[in-house]
Subunit: 468 residues, 2 copies
């Protein structure tokens, strides 16, 4: 090649490279400005959240943005599941007790971790500072109310037409608000206090709450069936019956025991979701309670709602909410909205399939262990048709309501305690000490620890050779 | 220039251009990979939040991420300040009434809007799902407790040493919890209910709450001074006095009226911040209540805290919190932590200078208007030395406690109502109808509407020619 030709090739190559580089730069600028959104003021908070989420805790814990030490600028630490310890939750404590006490619904945590993008919430520093949503003084998010109605429509577990929706700081607050509201609407102003009853076994909080608050005109009486048969049941004394369905602790669908003009009923439907029960029909009662805790698993958020038919009762409950806490936190309402958007987005498919499959598997394992036992028994609940899954299905309750069958095993809670399993005593549910409630809705680690110790306990039956 | 020279210049230019372009590309790549963090799962939520924040509402409103219609995929609408309307809050309604009723602390909103980056919160879908923070069953964020103690130390408005900290869903819930707790600790189990008193004028909610809840052993009695002089004051009947300082509605620093072994005191320090009052000394009482509402302006979050000396009282209050709502929402606790981080970050300088200057200016305007009036009067509060600002300063209360001086103006609330100003009636504070409370802590629009109508009302005095 001649010198001139070489020079010409060099010039051509340089010019071509110029063009290539210019096109590259223009293309990248275009992409940046038209397809990538660049965060501004949300950046710091988002980065902190993603950093906390990325902390690895060996699958036995997780870190949170407000974990211990973050004020010192430290990376948030792993918060480990029961029995796990160490900086990365990688050490399993030997001889550790299984926690099967509280109904902490962490079994749903893996679902939300994989739904990270859809379920994240970003709250500005000036988000809803006011007491009120609207000029009319409402404490209630209209969009959240809408999505709750949509949720019930999608799942088919409650009628919301002709119902007022009221929010509470957990169904816990709504139990107190409804008991208070119903006790005020006595047609006859009796000097005798309104009696609160619930069929044994009942959720311990009903009694504890009523006894503790010590209202002048409300008294927790005890078992609804006992009241029905008692001499005090004079059809005049005002009575409020709380019906929990599915029931806590035994998981069965329940109906009211009492009826009459002097009887008012509160239906606690906290567990009436496909995770735990077939959806046999939409709840259609005067006062129905639901809880975010048992719906999405967000016990920490403290959010519940009631569907109320009677306007007078609704207004009284609203007044209760106003005077006790001026409504529910707007931060919580924002979060609940986002979580329920995820649930409702695909008609509940992903979450309910995840939750039902998880609970089904846990019950299969539990049933297998206990079927080998004559010392401990579980009542079987017959499968029913589920309108949500459109098939006949087993109940997969949140708790195992276990009975100690041996004569000498008078305190089942202590028997399990001796086997390093912490359950909840049967007597706090108004029932006998022969029963113990075991929570099945905690983390996988909790469930594995429970079943390991349970297997051991059951295996000792054969060895011990006791009679039932 | 010869052809050859031109060619050489062209080649040189092309090569230089190539070098420049290559350097540019390398620099940008470097910047992107080393200095820009790219969001992943927080992106959608962050984008939604920034989009809502960018909605322009003419300076007379704002849009929120959970505004009406967002479920339909609509951009969140402007939520307008009182009297403003239209899609962008640009229309001022003629003949509109000023809202000077509730203590909605939106005067702090501009501060948080400019503190956007520091105050944003990103919450993952699995953030704190559990009921409990720690294995011990606590409902309380340790970091939030730490920053509250730091806050009091920085402002110097309360002693936190040897104090338990308890959280509530607003100071509202803590008032109920403390009244309940103190009424239980009767040394003598008297059959007579505990009397709740507070010096007139008192915050209306104390009476409303106690009357509504109707506890068996607590009765709202009324004015503390009247009780002291009454025949029922037998030094045996258990009494709880609520002392609000600075007081709502009149803004003065107060002390307890009653003392004795049968008297317990709750100090409500909700307004004891540099926004409203000189910080004369750190509060050092047995039971002190504070509220995020009046500290940072976040009324919607529903968060308050109590500093409690006595462990028995603390345990009872904790039980109250457990049974009424199982603690305070973790979403709210996360938000409160972030907001207080911003406050404490610079020792409170930015927020308290902003808030004090705002309130000072509002009081200057209000005082100027009312100084021209003989029909309406305001009690002057003498300035005091402020340990926070390290100078003598005026009180700048949240409310104007206005008295109607004319004989015939027996109902001050109605007088102002006739002038299209909605205040809060003196009688709900246990006081006379000659008083009306006007809120000065709402948005700038609210304050401007109030002062415009007030000027008009005062100007009519001269025209009307009435005697005082």
């Amino acid at each position: 090649m001649t010198m001139n030709r070489k020079k010409m090739l060099l010039v051509a190559a340089s010019i071509i490279l110029n063009l290539v580089l210019i096109i590259h730069i223009l293309y990248n600028n275009n992409s940046t400005t038209t397809t990538t959104w660049n965060p501004s003021w949300t950046s710091r908070a988002a980065e902190e959240a993603e950093e906390a989420a990325s902390v690895s805790c060996s699958g036995h814990g997780r870190a949170y943005v407000d974990g211990l030490g973050v004020l010192n600028g430290n990376k948030p630490p792993c918060e480990c599941n029961n029995c796990y310890t160490g900086d990365y939750c990688s050490f399993l404590l030997p001889d550790c007790h299984a926690d099967a006490n509280s109904g902490d619904p962490l079994f749903l945590e893996p679902f939300w971790m994989q739904a990270a993008e859809g379920s994240a919430v970003v709250e500005s520093g000036w988000h809803r500072m006011s007491y009120h949503f609207h000029q009319d003084g409402s404490y209630v998010s209209a969009e959240l109310e809408r999505i709750i109605r949509k949720l019930h429509s999608v799942v088919g577990n409650a009628v919301t037409d002709n119902r007022f929706v009221i929010f509470g700081t957990g169904a816990t607050q709504l139990v107190a608000a409804s008991v208070h509201a119903l006790s005020q609407t006595n047609a006859s102003s009796s000097s005798s206090p309104t009696r609160l009853v619930s069929a044994i076994p009942y959720y311990n909080a009903y009694k504890e709450q009523t006894d503790f608050f010590n209202y002048a005109n409300i008294k927790f009486e005890g078992d609804a069936s006992a009241w029905r048969k008692s001499e005090h049941n004079d059809n005049l004394t005002q009575v409020i019956e709380i019906v929990t369905s599915p029931n806590n602790p035994d998981g069965k669908l329940k109906r009211a025991v009492l009826e009459g003009s002097n009887v008012k009923t509160i239906h606690d439907y906290a567990y009436y979701w496909p995770h735990f029960s077939p959806i046999t029909h939409p709840a259609d009662e005067d006062l129905s309670l639901f809880s975010l805790t048992k719906t999405t698993g967000h016990a920490g958020s403290r959010f519940g709602w009631a569907l109320v038919k009677d306007e007078v009762v609704y207004e009284r409950m609203k007044r209760y909410l106003t005077l006790s806490s001026m409504g529910v936190s707007r931060d919580t309402q924002l979060r609940a909205l986002q979580l329920l958007k995820v649930v409702v987005g695909d008609g509940g498919e992903e979450i309910f399939h995840f939750s039902y499959e998880t609970m089904k598997k846990r019950w299969e394992i539990l049933n297998k262990i206990l079927s080998a036992s004559t010392r401990f028994s579980l009542e079987t609940i017959q499968p029913e048709y589920c309108n949500y899954f459109k098939k006949r299905r087993d109940f997969t309750p949140a708790y195992a309501w276990v009975k100690c069958e041996r004569l000498e095993d008078t305190n089942c809670y202590e028997i399990f305690g001796g086997a390093k399993i912490k359950g909840r005593e049967g007597k706090v549910f108004g029932s006998e000490e022969r029963f113990v409630r075991l929570s099945l809705i905690r983390t996988q680690d909790d469930f594995d620890q429970l079943t390991d110790l349970l297997k051991k306990l059951v295996s000792e039956e054969v060895v011990g050779g006791h009679s039932t």
